[in-house]
Symmetry: C2
């Protein structure tokens, strides 16, 4: 499929990994999935490299993040970065990518992939991707539905309909995040898959769907596209983009359109949603701890300590998510009588939080925002 | 009393304040009692300044600690530092101080005071001290007994006997650390006081008591004294000191000698025994937290966080025990959902421990010792 393109959605600011993730260094630019040398977005690009030539790899991100994002993706040309002047959710962003790619490749088949997920079984993932791209080639707007492994209330679900091709089903419905009871019913029922935010379609099909279901967006995108054709895209973007409707592709298009397919996938998908997940994914010692080299743990179990300082040692201190690689002998970390906590230190901040409250890191970001301390977020 | 001298015992290595206290920077050199600019030993010297002229202030410490100790005590001459070549507990150390002081002032009355305690009510303390020195002048070997405020099992006690002068009692017995039941009985009974390790005596009286109860020590001290008189003290010290019996002044002399007095004192005495005590003594916010400036606390109560790093900010980050004084804007500390913990960070180590386990910091030092990582202790 020589017309296959991929758009990696990398505009997220991600507050759940504070203090490691920051406005200027969001989650997808951090190596949070075990390999201290590979940011999540680099892993995303590497995973699909066998299916998508690098010159067909596009990155949707914010203007402020273009430089660090390209730095994390050697070999990707600056022209492949689609910098949104403001964030307007996924529909405008995907619509703009679609229009841009279609200008040079009207027969483009596009895979849209989040930048910040982890996938354990990459061959199985690529197999599902191939199936989804084939469905897209045949005119479906396809998504991959992750086979649930628990009654998760934090994700949207996709209800599976009839099989339409080998490994491909019609999508009966997109479902909002369920409550606990409903999530358990979904898990038992076996007809609902997690919506992992991956979409596959012909550019021409998506353009038509947007025109039908989001005409205001289509009109705006046409203005940008026309300006781009005459070499005046930057001004049009700055002018038009902020006026586009802020809506997700799920709500704006997928839930309403016809011929929506879902490909069930089981490949160790993980949305790397919190420090809790980082602990789950990391290599642990016999006491369940993830600690910097040389740490002392006394009566301490199931803790995650990440020393991400770059400080006076001329390098990082390692740890599961250490940046930069070289493990040097850093601070002596000592935990006594502490269980199930997360401690993350960066050059300018330290977080201490119970693992099970890892989601509440947002509260710190909220407090700093309320104080107007933007430089600490 | 122009013959009053004071000997501050400052040889302690103190592992209970790791990572702030280190072999080369023990507890008494740290500002652990609330004023971030005043090491405990400096407070000890300041407290007695109205009673003891500075040229009569002697410091007993180890050779390795002479320089930092003198640095903490501006105005004290280097000749006033009594550097023990090896630690042999308090009897040899006090005996040697006694002999040294008596050479130039045979009528010396000596107060021996630990370097690392805190006293809240300084005038009341000086009043007790004056009473104790008066008793010493009259030939008693006196000690101050702290009136207990709780059934403490971590201290030795002194049993109070008959009154022998206003505010002065004979000491009926020195008692080892009691068990819980006995400590409670002591508290109810009102006849037992805490042994705070403060001693007052004429040099001549102590010399006689040592000669009687610790003849081996007396003989060794005589050799050192004779060598000192002919200007050869250093060699004699190095030769003799390691051979002296290692025994406390309490066990070796006070428990056995006659005419031992105790002066009951109530002046907010605190032995600053652990990070728990530091938290108790510190100024706390409305949630009971002691936090570095600018910290964020969400659902977090009764914590002690000390950022003692000197790092890249060109200064310390403050906190109750911050060293150096100037509070600059340092790291953003964030605690979410954590209660009753202690976090202490220095330039080369971080400790996380529940407040109630603060004594177990020793386990960290033990672990580092076992690993042979002396530079981290």
């Amino acid at each position: 499929m020589s017309h296959v393109h991929a758009v990696i959605l990398a505009g997220g600011s991600g507050t759940r990994f504070w203090p490691a993730s920051r406005r200027k260094r969001p989650k997808q630019l951090l190596p949070l999935a075990g390999d201290p040398n590979e940011p999540l977005i680099a892993a995303t690009a590497r995973r699909i490299a066998p299916l998508v030539p690098i010159e067909h790899l596009w990155i949707s991100t914010s203007a402020a993040l273009v430089a660090p994002t390209l730095a994390a993706l050697p070999g990707v040309a600056a022209s492949r970065a689609l910098a949104e002047p403001v964030a307007r959710n996924t529909a405008p962003c995907i619509g703009w990518a679609c229009a841009t790619i279609a200008r040079s490749d009207p027969d483009a088949i596009i895979a849209v992939l989040p930048a910040d997920h982890h996938i354990a079984d990459e061959p199985a993932f690529r197999e599902a991707l191939t199936t989804a791209l084939r469905a897209a080639e045949e005119g479906w707007m396809a998504t991959i539905g992750i086979v649930p492994t628990r009654a998760e209330t934090g994700y949207g679900y996709i209800e599976v309909g009839d099989a339409v091709a080998p490994g491909v089903h019609a999508a009966a419905a997109f479902v909002e995040k369920p409550n606990r009871e409903r999530a358990e019913a979904y898990l038992r029922g076996g007809k609902h898959l997690w919506n992992g935010g991956m979409f596959f379609f012909r550019a021409s099909v998506m353009k038509k769907a947007i025109a039908k279901h989001l005409p205001a967006l289509a009109a705006g995108l046409d203005r940008i596209d026309a300006a781009a054709a005459r070499g005046d895209e930057a001004r049009a973007l700055a002018e038009v983009f902020p006026t586009l409707p802020s809506i997700s592709i799920d709500h704006g298009v997928m839930e309403k359109a016809e011929k929506i397919a879902v490909i069930p996938g089981s490949f160790g998908w993980n949305d790397v949603g919190s420090w809790q997940v980082t602990w789950e994914m990391a290599q642990k010692d016999s006491a369940g701890n993830v600690l910097p080299e040389g740490a002392v743990a006394v009566d301490a179990k199931n803790n995650l300590v990440l020393d991400l300082t770059t400080g006076t040692n001329g390098g990082t201190n390692g740890g599961a998510a250490g940046q930069g690689g070289a493990k040097v002998k850093g601070k002596t970390w000592a935990l006594v009588g502490m269980n199930d906590i997360v401690v993350v230190e960066t050059d300018d901040a330290v977080l201490v939080i119970p693992r099970e409250r890892a989601q509440d890191v947002r509260a710190v970001v909220d407090a700093l925002t309320a104080r107007g301390e933007a430089d600490r977020i």
